[in-house]
Amino acid sequence: MNLEQPNLNYIKELSGGDVDFEQKMLSILKNELPTEIEVYEKNIENQDFKKVAEIVHKIKHKISILGLPKSHEFAVQFENELRNENMQKHESFLKLLKLMSNFLDKV
């Protein structure tokens, strides 16, 4: 999972050069991800497994949009584990969120 780096390949593939679409997508990701990370951390703090699973589900699509298929698979497993009240993958998931967040800050 750590070998993967976020990229804009999927967004560019869909845009076919449509810059408005690329900007719209980046704006959505940049606006929503920080809030979702906050919600994730708050729910982790409250040990609210159901809500953590919900927000991981929501973030999951953004992981695949940023071209991270292995991390997406990891998030799928994490979401399933959370539904069984297991948050062992929390630290690794948080690292993934930071990786995505840093990438979005630079593009």
């Binding site: 593939e13 997508m25 929503e32 695949s64 799928v76």
Partner: protein
């Protein structure tokens, strides 16, 4: 073909909109972030195709399909492959797209939608021909939320001015509606109007007196004109 996009995630809606643009023959008429707004729109407008997310808070894509009497063609969009089997239960579902959706896969789904013909008039019915689940359920609108009630769990419905009180085994619901409207939705073999203000579930009768019937713990009046019909419906010794 005109289409709707229903998804609680703005990124997902933007992607499907772009895919429609790239495909070229689809016109996105509206986009909705929640199922309830979409149902209101679909009750008043005709649409050829819906791109529908399954996993939405409170009201899933499958719940939405079950509320529509004649749903249009539907392409499901989801992050979860695990719902694919459920999708085959509905005749109106054309295809199942797993996110992230690619253009070639999207085009294939749209081609299928164009060729798609409905099997029956009851599009939302599960195709396996077993008891129609939607016939056992009723959706009521409370504070802009559609709440699902299992019809067999209803004990009594009482008219209260412009409202009706639906008493189920677990909970009571006050809904802005009329007794006549709900009577049309309830199966005749299970429910009977015993008074101008009351409909009862015949299976919940505990005992009957001259002009009243006991449903669980509620004494319900029976009008003279409805009493003979009630007696006919009972398995009398």
């Amino acid at each position: 073909m005109n289409c709707l996009i229903i998804d609680d995630e703005s990124a997902a809606r933007a992607i499907v909109e772009q895919l429609c643009k790239n495909e070229g023959s689809l016109q996105v008429i509206e986009q909705f972030s929640n199922a309830i707004q979409a149902i209101k729109y679909l009750n008043q407008n005709e649409i050829d195709l819906i791109f529908l997310d399954i996993h939405m808070p409170d009201f899933t894509g499958f719940d939405l399909i079950q509320t529509l009497k004649n749903p249009p063609r539907i392409i499901l969009t989801t992050s979860d492959e695990k719902f694919a089997i459920d999708a085959f239960e509905y005749d109106c579902i054309v295809d199942y797209l797993v996110k992230p959706i690619t253009l070639p896969r999207f085009i294939k789904a749209v081609e299928k939608a164009k060729k798609f013909k409905f099997n029956t008039a009851q599009n939302a019915s599960p195709s396996n021909g077993e008891a129609k689940e939607e016939d056992k359920q009723l959706y009521i609108n409370i504070d802009r939320r559609l709440i699902k009630i299992e019809i067999p769990s209803i004990n009594v419905v009482e008219a209260k001015g412009d409202y009706i009180l639906i008493k189920t085994q677990d909970k009571n619901y006050t809904v802005h509606s009329t007794l006549k409207k709900i009577e049309e939705k309830l199966p005749n073999d299970l429910f009977l109007k015993v008074h101008r203000s009351y409909i009862i579930n015949l299976k919940r009768i505990v005992d009957i007196e001259d002009n009243s019937v006991l449903i669980e713990k509620d004494v319900i009046p029976v009008s003279r004109s409805n009493r003979s019909e009630l007696m006919k419906r009972l398995n009398l010794l």
